[in-house]
């Protein structure tokens, strides 16, 4: 019999391989992120150090906008190629496959933002404690952004110009992530304990990891059939 476990690995390898062959599109996301963040000092001039607490918010908003760009999603292409019909016929749980596809999407669009953030934050001369919490909050929050965005993509699959609706649909859902992510960083700037918002963010992300793939698989089954 076939090794059933090889299907998620095949899906992950295939998706990463496709993303790597569209390097231009993949690189757009971190570049856009860096550009947005750099626009603020250009607009306002150097911020006085008592306004340092604004910077995590700026970085988080830039991350939200950049992740909106990242939604030329493998799910949309695969839907139009009829891959989901074949996946449904494969008897493998579709929800797990969709989790893997979202994870691949996060690896190429979310993780680079987490890696760049400490470098970007250093250039603003904010305290190292804030940088650590900010990066941590992005590490916990960006997977949630990817999951919400995938949900948006799955909802707009059959619409001809789904991309426009998509931003309106998912930006409000990003709000809790933004609130918790910036709250943690601002607490850290003030030298306070930031574990509360971080724990909530982690809890939300875990809940989404469990629930969103199930919703995705139901949505896709409805779209395919």
């Amino acid at each position: 019999m076939r090794e059933v476990n090889s299907i998620p690995m095949m899906v992950l390898k295939r998706d990463l391989c496709i993303y790597m062959r569209h390097k231009g599109e993949v690189l757009t996301v971190p570049l856009f992120f860096v550009i947005i963040v750099s626009l603020f000092p250009v607009a306002f001039g150097p911020l006085p150090s008592e306004l340092n607490w604004l910077i995590p918010g700026i970085i988080w908003i830039a991350a939200l906008l950049a992740s909106l760009l990242a939604q030329e999603h493998s799910i949309r292409t695969d839907y139009h190629l009829g891959i989901f019909e074949q996946l449904l016929l494969s008897d493998y749980p579709l929800s797990f496959i969709l989790f893997i596809k979202t994870f691949a999407n996060w690896l190429v669009t979310g993780l680079p933002l987490v890696i760049i953030t400490p470098l970007l934050a250093l250039s603003f001369a904010i305290p190292s404690q804030t940088i650590i919490v900010l990066t941590g909050s992005l590490l916990l929050g960006t997977p949630l952004l990817s999951l919400i965005a995938t949900l948006g993509v799955a909802l707009t699959l059959t619409l001809p110009r789904g991309g426009l609706l998509l931003s309106v649909l998912i930006l409000p859902l990003y709000m809790p992530v933004l609130v918790l992510g910036t709250a943690a960083s601002i607490l850290a700037t003030q030298g306070l304990n930031s574990s509360g918002p971080l724990a909530l963010l982690a809890a939300l992300t875990l809940a989404a990891i469990l629930l969103v793939p199930l919703a995705l698989s139901t949505l896709l089954k409805v779209s395919v059939t």
Partner: protein, 195 residues
């Protein structure tokens, strides 16, 4: 292998066919014939379980493979990469080795194009990648939707060879095609009679 009893299917609230009953036994080929839009693809998808049946029963004994109009090939990936991925998805397939992949591609005359991105292949060549999936498939019931589309005479003969081999291995075959009789031994099923 396949038993359909009193099946009715509709699309966008229009009934395509109703009261359709037939069987496909092991080693038997059935050709569906009907005009465009009369429900050939809908019937195949319903049997595959991808569309709900309005009324009726479908029993499939054993694994199946469904090859639709949609070639399922990602334009960025090569013929070989697409074939490796898609053949892993067929439930009854055992692990496919690289050697088997190359054999399948050679059978379909795609050895030269095996590393070419599918976006650069012609429609007929893409269809031949799908034939390579049939070559590797261990599924007992084949549901083929217009397998001859875009194929030249040589490739059409490959389809017939694959089908004959499948039937001799006690496989069953349901082909939708508006070509004239594809195989002399195939039973004909005219969907329009059930419209």
């Amino acid at each position: 292998m396949l038993e359909v009893i009193g099946l009715a299917c509709s699309r966008n609230d229009v009934v395509l066919f109703s009261n359709l009953s037939f069987q496909v036994a092991a080693g038997v080929a059935v050709q569906l014939r009907a005009a465009n839009g009369s429900g050939k693809t809908t019937l195949l998808k319903t049997i595959a379980g991808l569309l709900p049946a309005a009324v009726g029963k479908i029993a499939v004994h054993g694994s199946l493979i469904f090859l639709g109009h949609n070639a399922n090939l990602h334009p960025t990936l090569s013929a070989r990469e697409n074939l490796a991925f898609l053949s892993t998805l067929t439930p009854s397939n055992s692990k496919i080795t690289n050697q088997q992949l190359d054999q399948a591609l050679a059978f379909c005359n795609l050895t030269q194009q095996r590393n070419t991105p599918c976006a650069e292949l012609s429609a007929g060549q893409r269809q031949r990648v799908n034939l390579a999936r049939l070559y590797l498939s261990a599924a007992k019931l084949w549901l083929l939707d217009e397998p001859f589309a875009n194929l030249d005479q040589t490739a059409q003969k490959l389809v017939l060879q694959l089908c004959a081999k499948h039937l001799s291995n006690t496989g069953a075959l349901l082909v939708a095609s508006h070509h004239e009789v594809i195989m002399p031994e195939a039973q004909l099923l005219d969907l329009e009679k059930y419209a």
